[in-house]
């Protein structure tokens, strides 16, 4: 009888599921806090999704689930400073087709100028589009990433980024900050309408900000005294632009760095430049001064299917050779920078990409910082993520070995205090799992 009762209870427990421990303590681990000196052997206590305590003298609370961290290193969870993990992948052949299921709906008439707001979805927030079950999120988390600053990246004004923790069933559970800033792209895409040239794209962005200024004036005047005044026409595009507290502008070549820094100053918008392939060039760092930048982890490589008889220019070769030294050069010049995945989502690819920068001369501490506290600071979230500090969100990655080394294993990842184990390495791409395709 007793055996049957115990069996039933056990069954009940299994059916109900393992409850989350009220607190977790990782003991005797090396702790790279990033915000302060590394603790050679210490304890981190997590409670309520936050870091309750961290130090070399911290005791594990009585109710904590204790994890033996001997031989392991605890880092702050990694942050992807400009992410598309979980964001819709534009349908092949389409142009970011929302509703492009079949050619039932005729294509909209080509834009005749800035007034038609071409390629603009500035009001869209990443958190509205992200798919929490996208396999790239699980893949990135297995690499140690706990937060993605996800951005909608389709069009000229792609929309507003959202800071998302990489764990949770619904976007509402994941979101840290719904509006991080406006993503602007100046990559010229084939189009039948305005704009079709880089100067057209730039003129369009300039006109939008002029219109936004005027729109604000109109709305303010109307608010002050609506009687007798025709109400300003609601402009969704301008609302989205006004809502954005900063802009992201593309810059890979130093020529583009010069251009974009000046453009941001003209628009009077706080800006972050992304790309930074020629960050190693002194002219880039000279212009940047206090503008923060995001460095792409997709280092330039020689095209595999290029014509072997093609003679490349010295500049092309030089950029390819020196691009991985950009982070080191930016650090030396005092420019605040963070890394971003630029679409990479496989742990092996991400680790190798960061290692390349370290091999090129970036210190490991600076590499870790560029994926933790620096992106948090750049986006104004350093008071809640980016380091292993008491009171911050419990986003951690625990490794065996130094982060970014080839042989290092990610043992576990904590997102909002919930433990995740890395996914078993699937051999190659095209594995099972969902990708957010629209």
């Amino acid at each position: 009888m007793k055996h049957i009762l115990i069996a039933l209870l056990a069954l009940g427990a299994i059916v109900v599921g393992q409850p989350q421990p009220t607190s977790i303590a990782i003991r005797n681990a090396k702790i790279v806090t990033v915000s302060g000196p590394t603790i050679a052997k210490g304890t981190v206590v997590l409670r309520n999704g936050l870091i309750a305590a961290v130090g070399d003298n911290v005791q594990a609370p009585a109710d904590a689930l204790v994890i033996d961290g001997d031989g392991m290193t605890v880092y702050p969870g990694l942050i992807d400073a400009l992410s598309t993990w979980g964001m819709p992948v534009p349908a092949a052949g389409g142009r970011g087709g929302r509703g492009a299921a079949a050619p039932a709906t005729p294509a909209p008439p080509p834009a005749m100028g800035p007034q038609d707001r071409p390629q603009t979805t500035s009001w869209v927030k990443a958190m509205e589009q992200i798919a929490p079950n996208d396999r790239r999120i699980e893949s990135a988390r297995s690499a140690g990433f706990t937060t993605a600053f996800a951005f909608p990246t389709v069009g000229i004004f792609g929309g507003q980024g959202s800071a998302m923790n990489l764990g949770g069933a619904k976007a509402e559970d994941m979101v840290l900050e719904p509006s991080l800033g406006q993503y602007i792209s100046l990559t010229v895409r084939p189009s039948n309408g305005f704009p079709q040239s880089l100067m057209g794209y730039i003129a369009y962005v300039r006109q939008i900000y002029l219109d936004a200024d005027h729109y604000k004036m109109e709305k303010a005047a109307y608010e002050k005294n609506p009687r007798g005044m025709k109400r300003p026409e609601f402009d969704r595009a301008l609302e989205g632009v006004i809502e954005s507290k900063r802009i992201l502008l593309p810059a890979n070549r130093w020529v583009e760095v010069e251009r974009m820094v000046k453009f941001a100053a003209e628009l009077k918008q706080p800006a972050i430049l992304y790309g930074m392939r020629e960050g190693f060039d002194k002219r880039s760092t000279d212009y940047l001064k206090s503008t923060p930048v995001l460095v792409s982890l997709k280092w330039p490589v020689k095209a595999a299917d290029g014509d072997p008889d093609d003679v490349e220019s010295m500049k092309t070769m030089e950029v390819r050779e020196k691009a991985p030294t950009s982070p080191m050069a930016l650090k030396a010049a005092g420019v605040k920078f963070a890394f971003y995945s630029d679409g990479l989502d496989q742990p092996r690819d991400l680790q190798r990409a960061v290692k390349k920068a370290i091999d090129a001369g970036l210190s490991r501490e600076d590499a870790v910082r560029a994926l933790t506290l620096s992106p948090a600071e750049i986006y104004g979230l350093a008071d809640r993520i980016g380091s292993v500090e008491k009171g911050k969100i419990a986003n951690l990655v625990v490794t065996r070995g130094d982060l970014f080394d080839d042989r290092t294993r990610v043992e576990m990842v904590f997102v909002d205090g919930v433990k995740h184990l890395p996914a078993p390495e699937t051999g190659g791409r095209g594995g099972a799992g969902t990708e957010n395709r629209q």
Binding site: P110, P114, F194, M199, G200, I202, A203, L210, M217, V255
Partner: protein, 443 residues
């Protein structure tokens, strides 16, 4: 006593001044001094002295140009180099909101090659796909500087208009499957449509200007009108603050544009290409426009059929300021011989021929107070040739802009083996990096 005082002043000046003397050259000054054998003193980026004999101060850098020729830096009044991306915003027929200034590419090798051809200043224009094109800018070929460093500071900004075949073809289907697709059709498709497009744009601009003038005159009460970049540029044209450079070929369209300009009260600064300009030279001169044309291109499309190489000379004789341009990165490198062709076709004198690529385009661009001739007080934009500059055999030896050397033929040629070696090392380094990776791959 005075001599000592002046000598002391000179000495004091030179401690801080950058001084160069170009000695013993045959100078085609393009100024009232004409052509003579002499020297030029350059100080602080300006021409300080020109004459048969100049005093060579202590510490001056001396360039001995014995047996060589010196001209003012060549000015190309129609160029499309140094721009990132398409220089045509082809989507709309009135694209005055776009600006070449936004896409300056200081890394374009065409800048360096232009220098090697003696060009020191170039008028960078929007393309000719649109009846009203984009805003334009004048650059100096200061190879090595950044985008801002290339801009010819103080040169009045411009805007490009285009008449005739190019704008009407760009938005419409053409024989042979060329031209626009049905999805991208664009008005206008005829010359009368081009005129209408320009008039309608200026009607809007006049109204826009009236709104802004009313707000300003009314003491700037309330919120200002919305700033529209497209109309803002045209408002500047109406106010004489922006030069109009109009691409055109046929006599009828030249006259048409003069009438339009008169109707709206603005002036065409230059007619570009203007291959039938010789037919309406009197009217062009009366309007006060300059003409920037090709030396001898003709027949490459229907509207170029009546072009003759005497165009430049005939317009000059009727009092038009004429320049010869390249509209091409390759032709840009031999504008000296383009100028020489005006001597062959029309009996233009040597000095007047060289004027067509120096002082005349300077006048057209409104920068003749700064460049275009070797005259005291002007920018030291100077070219040294090894032979008569109007000869096919002449090669540019050195080019100076603002008194700084930007091109040196000897330096360029002698520097090549080292560049080649550096490149070879890069290639080898890359191969070496790939090789061990290949070995590591099977895991």
């Amino acid at each position: 006593m005075r001599k000592i005082y002046f000598a002391a002043l000179f000495a004091a000046a030179f401690v801080h001044a950058e001084v160069t003397v170009i000695k013993n050259a045959t100078i085609m000054s393009e100024s009232s001094k004409g052509t003579f054998k002499g020297s030029i003193l350059v100080r602080d980026g300006k021409i300080a002295e020109v004459g048969e004999n100049v005093m060579v101060p202590q510490g001056a850098t001396i360039i001995d140009a014995q047996g060589q020729w010196v001209t003012p830096g060549i000015i190309d009044a129609h160029s499309h180099i140094a721009g990132d991306g398409n220089i045509n915003e082809m989507s709309v027929s009135v694209s005055s909101m776009v600006n070449i200034k936004d896409i300056i590419n200081p890394e374009d090798i065409a800048i360096y090659r232009a220098l090697a051809g003696g060009v020191t200043t170039a008028n960078i224009l929007h393309g000719s796909a649109n009846s009203i094109g984009g805003q334009t800018i004048v650059l100096k070929m200061r190879w090595g500087k950044d985008a801002d460093g290339l801009i010819f500071e103080g040169a009045k900004p411009g805007i490009k208009f285009a008449l005739g075949e190019n704008p009407k073809r760009s938005g419409n289907p053409q024989p042979g499957g060329r031209g626009a697709t049905p999805a991208a059709l664009r008005y206008p498709a005829t010359r009368m449509g081009v005129e209408d497009t320009i008039r309608e744009a200026f009607n809007e601009a006049v109204q826009y200007k009236a709104e802004w003038d009313a707000w300003e005159k009314g003491g700037k009460q309330g919120i200002p009108p919305r700033k529209d970049l497209k109309l803002e540029a045209l408002k500047e044209v109406l106010e004489g603050k922006r030069y109009v450079h109009a691409h055109c070929y046929r006599a009828d369209e030249i006259l048409m544009l003069i009438r339009v300009a008169d109707d709206y009260g603005f002036k065409i600064r230059t007619f570009q290409h203007v291959l039938e300009g010789y037919k309406v030279a009197k009217e062009i001169a009366a309007h006060g426009a300059g003409a920037s044309t090709f030396s001898d291109w003709w027949g490459f499309k229907a509207e170029a059929y009546d072009a003759i190489p005497y165009n430049a000379a005939l317009m000059t004789k009727k009092g038009v300021t004429v320049s010869l341009n390249s509209d091409d990165a390759e032709l840009m490198r031999r504008l000296n011989t383009e100028a020489a062709k005006a001597m062959r076709y029309g009996g233009i004198s040597r000095e007047d021929a060289l004027a067509m690529v120096t002082i005349n385009p300077a006048k057209q661009l409104g920068v003749d107070n700064r460049v275009g001739s070797i005259d005291v007080g002007k920018d030291a934009d100077i070219v040294i040739y090894d032979k008569d500059p109007l000869s096919n055999y002449a090669k540019v030896q050195k080019v100076m802009i603002d008194g700084n050397k930007y091109f040196d033929r000897d330096g360029e040629v002698s520097g090549r083996p080292m560049k080649e070696a550096t490149k070879q090392k890069m290639i080898e380094r890359e191969k070496a990096d790939q090789a061990p990776a290949q070995k590591r791959r099977p895991q």
